[in-house]
Subunit: 289 residues, 2 copies
């Protein structure tokens, strides 16, 4: 899915909601455990109940890998099931991969080709050749970790590197004062554009969005951390929206585990609709659509 | 496996060889494709042929994930097969995971509990709460990315952050001049010790080992990049060995794809034995064992 198609989807649904399929087998309703593949059954019912309100789904690989090969089968079935909504939802493999070139190539194949996700989250620590193999697929996206929503984000992401040669190279006079996450964003301009590259910026860092939008006014951002992690949708919209929306806001636990009982899908739909209504109001308030 | 047990294994085998099971289905010998699970059959024959010379095996997740759930089944079978060598080889999931706390917990469960690897490689970008969930398992290890072997390592890992508060906090007078990878290493002292934490340092950065050994004289290091990537075993040993060896040197393609024909296992054994002989000589030269 390309950028314009994604924006058209947002316009159509008046939503920028991404639903995180963190489908922990230990948290799904007990009555589903009788099914042959409880995690897939859970995902299927969540998707059926919420797809009108959501523009994206983001399965979180960890929750599938914790079930071993069975987990991967649940994931494959989920992607297969999502095929019927091919042009109706954007799919993100929340995998946070990144390795030396020949290995990143394999990860790229796994997620963008074999499983045909629209996008994958990628960790930047290993640099250029760990990221670029993910960028060789038409209308597919790398979503690069920039400033994450968790407490540990301040350990390295906000450190301010000092390396005059680097700053000269990218044409900056400043010799210090750029946090690592901004350097990651600037470096990534060598790898891709706002047509194949997005960034993860935690909702818990909403005020940082003002600065980030100065560097990347047109890129899409994937915003986790609204809800369970404490981020505010209104703040994220205020500081992060651009003319083509430019935001996908993720919610996982608040929606998919709104109820742990038989009414889980109905309750998920209610929570998703509730968020979509807030999003519609914000999209209107900021004259996006 | 704890640190002493790992060292005893190195002493016993006179080897610090880790064999990377980057078992690319597109590169394994054609005659294996008739088997029900060609990748497992390949691994099994490689393990049978090389386990006398190697102290560790390191399946690289990307090559299994590229085959989807079938790949995970090959991986599970490989780990099951390795159970018979439980105290004879150390097993590393080369997964380079790392995410917010509740997600890292799931990855930790997947690799250290369900699949029972001895260790997992972890990416540090997301900080403390992305790493510590992997450290809650007795006699299991986190192998943290520090200075990797690839070209992209210089993009961020060698940047020199500048943040006086941070340096004060960790008791350093210096306000600049510490590359990011050294800061990652120092920060990790808050997370674990040389009993549950190792670091990835690329063989292509052998000269950096002198400085790294000043910071972490006693930790084990996992050294990729000897062979296909151009690193030198002699240099790595010279600058990296400590009294309890402190090194695991990985070789993947040079061993497992030494031949692409029916003699692949014999050729892999020859290459592994060849490396083990060089390692034995170096362990003797530096009076390790």
């Amino acid at each position: 899915m390309n950028r314009l198609e994604l924006f058209r989807l947002i316009e159509k649904k008046h939503s920028l909601l991404c639903i995180g399929l963190d489908s922990d087998i230990k948290k799904i309703p007990l009555h589903l455990l009788d099914h042959e593949d409880p995690v897939f059954e859970f995902n299927k019912q969540i998707i059926d109940a919420t797809h009108e309100h959501a523009v994206a789904y983001k399965p979180n690989m960890a929750f599938y890998e914790a079930n071993g090969s069975k987990g991967w089968i649940s994931l494959e079935k989920t992607m297969k099931y999502l095929e019927q909504f091919k042009n109706e939802v954007f799919t993100i493999a929340d995998a946070k991969r990144g390795d030396i070139g020949n290995t990143s190539e394999q990860y790229a194949r796994a997620f963008l080709e074999v499983m045909d996700f629209d996008a994958i989250t990628v960790a930047p620590y290993m640099g250029t050749d760990s990221v670029t193999p993910f960028m060789k697929f038409k209308d597919k996206w790398v979503i690069l970790l920039a400033l994450t929503s968790n407490e540990g984000a301040k350990d390295f992401q906000t450190l301010q590197p000092h390396r005059s040669k680097f700053f000269q190279k990218i044409g900056l006079k400043k010799k210090k004062g750029q946090p690592l996450f901004e350097i990651v964003i600037r470096k990534s301009f060598e790898w891709g554009s706002n047509n194949n590259l997005m960034f993860v910026v935690g909702a818990t860092r909403a005020r940082s969005l003002t600065n980030i939008r100065k560097i990347i006014p047109y890129h899409f951002l994937l915003i986790p951390g609204v809800g369970a992690q404490g981020g505010s949708l209104a703040q994220v919209a205020k500081y992060g929206l651009n003319k083509q929306c430019g935001l996908l806001v993720n919610s996982s636990r608040n929606i998919i585990f709104a109820s742990g009982k038989e009414d889980f899908a109905t309750r998920a739909a209610e929570e998703a609709y509730n968020m979509q209504k807030q999003m519609k109001a914000l999209l209107s308030k900021y004259h996006i659509c």
